[in-house]
Amino acid sequence: MTTTSRRSYGVKGAPYAFLLPAATLFALFFALPIGYAIWLSFRKVKVSGLGLGSGARREVWAGVENYTDALTDNELVDGALRVLGYGCVVVPVMLGLALLFALMLDSDKVRLAPFTRLAIFLPYAIPGVVAALLWGFLYLPDVSPFYFVLERLGLPQPDLLDGGPLYLALSNIAVWGGTGFNMIVIYTSLRAIPAEVYEAAKLDGATPLQIALRIKIPMVAPSLVLTFFFSIIATLQVFNEPTTLKPLTNSVSTTWSPLMKVYRDAFGTGDIYQAAAEAVIIALATLVLSFGFLRAANRRNRQEAAR
């Protein structure tokens, strides 16, 4: 009797023991820092007198002040709108190209497929900062070979680092770098479609175009949802490209994207409390947008499955 009960106790405890390392790591390196950031976002610094010398600076409770400041700050809202505009270019173009390339690579007639796949994927292996520097040089009229050619041909030379074209210039860097990765994800799931499906379609007289549109695309829909999900998150967190282009032009401010504003507040102006509040808001917005999209996508899938 006693042995059984002891054994059952041991069995009950085992899962928790196995969970312990993961739970500890989660608490130490995930929950704790996030909790600390949230704690900081409700604090602020309070200076007394001239604020010089020791004891002149205290950390005090701020309530929701940092949050109201962030939400009423035009720079943060404008940054969000800029990123929205940027995302409207990047996400459709990047995923459209990725899908197109994946379908082309998957077709029977393609030659040199491994080489092409690698060539399209390669920019993804280049760090974002390096890519932005590389493109930045190409965008600067005085050093860019493109402008040299345009000038020789007597064609107009647009300023790519200003106004509307700036969005295209930034999007181009992201599309160049991200298409390959998304293509590989879609391509992998295309290869997983069983050959019988195509055979059946061909017997029914479907053309390659019809196969692509009616069979391949619907069957890789889950990967499309996944890549879309990743792309939204990446867009909301855009930081490298505008930060790298910033020294080259007056058009990119230090608060061009929301994350740049977080960086500026934390490390430029030294207000980590304000930066923490903004980081929390961005994290929440990212969660709501990305999971909102996932839920919507899942609901549609379920409806289609039911039909």
Binding site: V45, V47, L50, G51, A56, D142, R264, T269
Partner: protein, 442 residues
């Protein structure tokens, strides 16, 4: 010796307690330590600096005076400017700032306001006469305390392409009015060339120009700060450059870009308002035009004046976290006043010394290689350095500087009103100070 183990144990226990009590307690514990134990006996100091070749200068100390006093300094190379300020403040928050740090003059109030710098008045007070008054005053913040020892300074000057000025029949401007005239005249004879550019990516340049015009951006009276970024002097400077940009007499693109390098290397831009360190920058940015540039004093606002601003320059400070403040202060004073040290600093680090006596000795008896055509380069530089206007830094220069980059960057791009951008800068600075709880008088 048998005590070592116990004292180490005590230290561990003390710092554990201090960590739980917070950083203030730790700092207090540190300063006690200094007075009792660290005055004599061996000390090992860490020094955060971005000056190239500093390790070689520190070697002189470690093998010479440092060896005698058993004070060993270790250099930890850092990124320059604002990044280092953030890093020092973060380290200070954890009570782990290094003993010695390099800090730009405008960063000193920010560091002092965060209680990161120790008052070393009683250790380095007699170094005062080695420096011009305007330079020394920046390290005291107008108080009786001394928070750093000046290392290098950046008096501003006017650099121009001697050959192209001759070619386009331009005269070197001695007033800002003539400067504007020169810019316009150049546009007439060579429409695709620019005299220079108004760059919004280095706030120090604008701050220096305002300083020359007599601006006092931060002042105190009693317990209150006054922010005068939009004072008449600065407004005059902003309007002057804004008008030049608007009429297209000077370019509006930022400097230090590949495009700027090309412009000054090929003679598309033929002058540069800069500081004493310009030869180094020109050497990298415009290697093909070596020997074709000349240096002159900065243009003045009126014929009777003779003042300049400063752009750049830094000091050596001792942190409140240091366990050996007296030893650290001793090193800081040696580094910036000793003849051998300053010579080595000039040779290895390429700095222009703050110490007045060093400005005409050793490395500074011959012109920089890039300016071999101007034999009296450093003689003239020392004369100009003496005319540096006093500066007035406040506790949130970083906020004003970031605001400058955004507001003036946009204004330069749109060729719009620079005085409106100046107002934005003023408002952002005041708002931030009020948010932190500073009392700001209107």
């Amino acid at each position: 010796m048998p005590n070592t183990k116990r004292s180490r144990l005590f230290k561990v226990a003390a710092s554990a307690v201090a960590v739980t009590l917070g950083a203030t307690a730790l700092a207090a514990c540190g300063s006690e330590d200094k007075d009792s134990a660290a005055e004599s006996g061996p000390a090992s100091l860490t020094y955060w600096t971005w000056t190239p070749g500093m390790d070689k200068v520190v070697d002189l100390w470690n093998k010479g005076p440092g060896k005698k006093d058993q004070i060993t300094v270790t250099v930890k190379k850092q990124a320059s400017g604002d990044t280092l300020v953030t890093k020092i403040l973060t380290a200070h928050k954890a009570g782990k700032a290094p003993d010695l740090v390099q800090a730009e003059y405008q960063a000193l109030p920010t560091l002092v306001s965060n209680d990161a710098l120790a008052d070393i008045a009683k250790n380095v007070g007699d170094a005062k006469d080695k420096f011009a008054e305007g330079v020394w005053q920046q390290t005291t913040l107008g108080t009786d305390a001394v928070y750093a020892v000046p290392q290098d300074i950046g008096p501003m000057m006017f650099y121009y392409r001697e050959d192209l000025f001759k070619k386009y029949k331009l005269t070197v401007p001695t007033t800002w009015e003539q400067f504007a005239g020169t810019a316009r005249q150049l546009k007439k004879v060579a429409p695709d060339k620019d005299l220079t550019t108004f760059s919004a990516n280095d706030s120090g340049l604008f701050a220096g120009l305002a300083q020359q015009a007599g601006a006092k951006w931060w002042t105190t009276s009693g317990d209150k700060w006054k922010v005068g970024i939009d004072d008449p002097a600065t407004e005059k400077v902003a309007k002057f450059w804004g008008d030049l940009v608007k009429e297209g007499a000077v370019d509006n693109q930022p400097m230090y870009t590949p495009a700027w390098n090309k412009a000054i290397n090929t003679g598309k831009q033929i002058a540069w308002v800069s500081a004493v360190w310009a030869p180094g920058t020109l050497n990298t940015a415009a290697p093909d035009t070596k020997g074709k540039w000349a240096m002159a004093p900065l243009p003045q606002w009126s014929n009777s004046e003779n003042v300049t601003g400063s752009w750049g320059g830094s000091s050596t400070a001792v942190t409140t976290d240091s366990q050996h403040k007296a030893a650290a202060a001793k090193f800081a004073a040696w580094l910036n006043t000793d003849g051998d040290a300053l010579n080595a600093l000039a040779k290895e680090g390429g700095i222009y010394p703050a110490s007045s006596s060093a400005q005409l000795s050793g490395a500074f008896t011959t012109p920089p290689d890039y300016f071999s055509n101007q034999p009296d380069f450093y003689g003239q530089a020392a004369k100009i350095a003496k005319t540096t206007a006093p500066s007035a830094w406040g506790p949130n220069v970083n906020v004003a500087y970031t605001s400058f980059k955004d507001a003036f960057g946009a204004a330069a791009k749109d060729k719009s009103d620079f005085t409106a951008a100046l107002k934005t800068m003023q408002d952002a600075t005041v708002t931030d100070m009020k948010k932190q709880g500073f009392e700001v008088s209107e």
